[in-house]
């Protein structure tokens, strides 16, 4: 067989590459065998055989499940399950996974065709072709980077990419409590119905806009407050009269060192309206206690103040480092010119430290936008807001999604909100990355 092919090929030397590629399209490995790379060809062919025998059926049924989301509903008679029926969400997950497998197979198919084509081309140009052993070595050398990346890639595809795509898909179904919960009932594709509900139904739109604007306010103000507090402390520490700077600095860094969830829970107790230590103090100096966590506005103030306590040490440390790099002569020259301390700060200190701070502020903003651990541990989103669907006054978008999913079973609309957040973050990320040096510098 191979001698036959060979004699044929020798007649038209010019088209090794095309013939090899075409053969590989017909069946993986044929092109390689045609190129006289027998072991390689057999490996590819075996690979395709395995796929044909073991994977075709699951892939077809998986795709079918993904499209229909199940056809047989559960049948019950007198409370007993007669026919378990299809579980739409499992079918969807299975279908999506097999779709990923299919895409990977198509990718490998393309690689095998490309390999056959390239080797064919080398033959046309009369270059020597690597034998199997050399090929394996070559893969090890050139593929070293891929081997290093593989664990990360698998982890991220399974537990980051897959979940995000899955969430996006759920946003287009009616998967929700109480009527569309598998395995008792089937779930269906409903197109953009959830988005229509979210943006046109009064209660949903009100909740979304309310929660969204608080999220933005929270993310911006929490970042700014913390940055300026950090700067303030760093500037105070840099004053000439301050002795033992290191001692003070180490005390101020303590809030950063205390585990986050511990300090949040401590503050939750300190702000407690009835028994909290803060209200005790207010009472002891004759002031009225403040309903910290039960009044919408005070709850927001409490959340921001707690974040201030937690967040300023990092910025203080950063700014202290930056301030030491500013040359003393600048200030001395300014003093000679009669500049006041305020003027010195505005014209020398501020511009220099901000150069260092802005990129980190963007990061902090993005981080706070998604900071649901903080909100949830501190207030659980409360106090309740009667006008909102499943959200409280201090809920940010992510904690709202979290509550809708975990406590209320509103999976579909929670996913729709998640998809909107996804687009917001992606837009922000794109805008933000367009100008960074590390993306530009790379070839």
């Amino acid at each position: 067989m191979s001698t036959n092919l060979e004699s044929q090929a020798s007649h038209k030397d010019k088209s090794h590459s095309k013939i090899a590629a075409l053969l590989s399209v017909l069946f993986m490995g044929l092109g390689q065998i045609y190129n006289k790379q027998y072991w390689k060809g057999i490996s590819w062919a075996l690979f395709e055989l395995i796929i044909l025998i073991f994977f075709i059926k699951p892939i077809m049924s998986g795709l079918h499940g993904l499209i229909t989301l199940g056809e047989t509903p559960q049948v019950r008679q007198r409370g007993r399950i007669v026919d378990p029926g299809d579980h739409s969400i499992l079918l969807m997950a299975e279908g999506l996974m097999l779709l990923i497998v299919l895409i990977a197979i198509v990718g490998l198919y393309y690689l095998s065709v490309r390999d056959a084509y390239l080797v064919g081309k080398m033959r046309e140009q009369g270059q020597r072709i690597m034998n199997f052993k050399e090929s394996v070595r070559n893969i090890w050398d050139n593929g070293y980077a891929y081997i290093l990346i593989t664990p990360t890639a698998i982890c991220m595809i399974l537990l980051t990419v897959f979940p995000l795509v899955f969430t996006a898909l759920i946003a287009f179904t009616n998967f929700s409590s109480p009527n569309y919960l598998p395995p008792r009932a089937l779930v269906d594709w409903v197109g953009i119905e959830q988005f229509v509900r979210l943006f046109t139904m009064e209660s949903w739109r009100g909740t979304f806009l309310g929660v969204f604007s608080w999220t933005v306010i929270w993310a911006i103000s929490s970042t700014l407050i913390v940055v300026f507090a950090g700067l303030f402390v760093a500037v105070v520490l840099s004053q000439k009269v301050v002795k033992y700077t290191k001692f003070w600095r180490n005390i101020y860094i303590i809030p950063w060192a205390v585990p986050g969830f511990v300090s949040i829970l401590i503050f939750r107790n300190m702000y407690n309206g009835q028994f909290g230590v803060i209200n005790d103090m207010l009472r002891s100096v004759g002031l009225n206690p403040i309903p910290w966590l039960s009044d919408p506005t005070w709850a927001k103030v409490a959340v921001l103040m707690t974040n201030l306590w937690l967040g300023f040490p990092f910025w203080m440390a950063l700014f202290t480092a930056v301030l030491t790099t500013i040359s003393k002569e600048l200030y001395e020259a300014a003093e000679v010119d009669g500049a006041t301390i305020v003027q010195q700060f505005r014209n020398i200190t501020f511009p220099i430290v901000m150069v260092a701070a802005v990129p980190l502020m963007v990061f902090t903003f993005a981080f706070n936008f998604n900071q649901l651990t903080f909100i949830y541990l501190m207030t659980e989103g409360g106090p309740m807001n009667a006008n909102y669907n499943y959200a409280g006054h201090t809920d940010i978008l992510l904690s709202w999604i979290f509550k809708m999913t975990l406590d209320n079973g509103q999976y579909a609309i929670a996913s729709a909100v998640a998809l909107v957040v996804f687009l917001l973050i992606a837009g922000f990320a794109y805008f933000n990355l367009r100008n960074t040096k590390s993306m530009k510098g790379e070839a």
Binding site: I89, L90, A93, E94, L148, I149, P151, T152, C155, M156, L158, L159, T160, F162, P163, L164, F166, T167, I170, V236, V241, V242, N250, I251, I253, I254, A257, V258, P259, G260, F261, V262, L265, I266, N269, M270, G276, W309, A317, L318, A321, A356, L360, F363, L372, L377, L398, T405, L406, S415, V421, I425, F428, A429, L433, T436, S438, M439, E442, A443
Partner: protein
């Protein structure tokens, strides 16, 4: 007109009153939790701010172990945090090195994907993760939780490690290659020792991140024998009456002390790592 000397005195006074006020603000919550843990009463309501040392009651520490699953939570948290640290640091160092020092097809797209994916909190894919773990029987198991945590921190680690290796000249690698060193030799014997500070930072970060996490734990770990400390301590104080406040305080002290020590040991790496990471981004 105030004399220069008087001016300096005023300045001194202002600066030091700010410093002292800040010390009080920074230390009060820490003091509050410590004193809470040795308070005679048991609820937040009855706890005093300045109990006399004679009344200090160390019994709450005993109660933690006798009446609550504190030891189990502690062990769970440490196991999870260390496993996550090992997995996500190893993976992150591998891929960060690959992205920094090799040229390969798809590198740019891969990097872009990592930066963007790193911005999405794992919680957004909650439903899928729940379904997926359920399908593999990993719900309410530590293995499932560790995998989710590792996947969540590996992108950030890759990014930070890549930034570090970018700063190491390629000539080092080429010189070693001329001496006949293989890829693995270069990586293990030349590059890894150089990267110790950034590995320390990434490892510390993954350890802390995992021991601080609450939300994903709440999604995945449902039974109280599998809980982490964050979940356990949260249930102690989440009610309105806070009847377990002093026990919570004792538990908080026991976890905070080692983590704070760790923080001060690693402090230098942390500030450097964070600023470097963000500047590269």
């Amino acid at each position: 007109m105030i004399s220069p000397k008087g001016k300096r005195a005023i300045n001194f006074f202002i600066v030091y009153s700010i410093l002292v006020a800040l010390v009080i603000i920074c230390l009060f919550p820490v003091y509050f939790i410590f004193i809470g843990s040795v308070n005679p009463g048991s609820s937040l309501h009855s706890s005093q701010i300045f109990p006399s040392p004679a009344d200090w009651n160390w019994g709450h520490y005993k109660a933690l172990f006798a009446e609550h699953d504190y030891l189990t939570w502690y062990k769970n948290t440490m196991f999870i945090a260390i496993s996550n640290m090992l997995i996500s640091t190893t993976f992150g160092v591998f891929s960060g090195y690959a992205f920094s020092k090799f040229r390969f097809a798809g590198k740019k797209q891969g990097l872009m994907a990592i930066i963007i994916l790193q911005m999405f909190p794992t919680i957004m894919g909650m439903i899928a993760i729940y379904t997926l773990l359920g399908a593999f029987g990993l719900l309410d198991t530590h293995l499932g939780y560790i995998l989710v945590l590792a996947a969540g921190s590996v992108a950030f680690n890759t990014w930070i490690v890549k930034g570090f290796f970018d700063g190491i000249p390629n000539s080092l690698m080429e010189a070693a290659r001329i001496d006949g060193a293989s890829n693995t030799d270069i990586f293990v014997k030349v590059m890894l020792p150089l990267a110790t500070p950034i590995i320390a930072f990434v490892a510390f970060n993954s350890f802390i991140g995992a021991s601080m996490d609450f939300i994903m734990a709440e999604v995945i770990l449902r039974s109280s024998s599998n809980w982490t400390l964050a979940q356990g301590l949260f249930t102690l104080v989440s009610g309105q009456a806070n009847n377990n406040f002093t026990v919570f305080a004792a538990g908080a002290v026991l976890i905070s002390v080692p983590l704070m020590v760790l923080f001060f040991v690693f402090q230098r790496f942390i500030v450097e790592g964070l600023t470097a990471g963000a500047e590269k981004g």
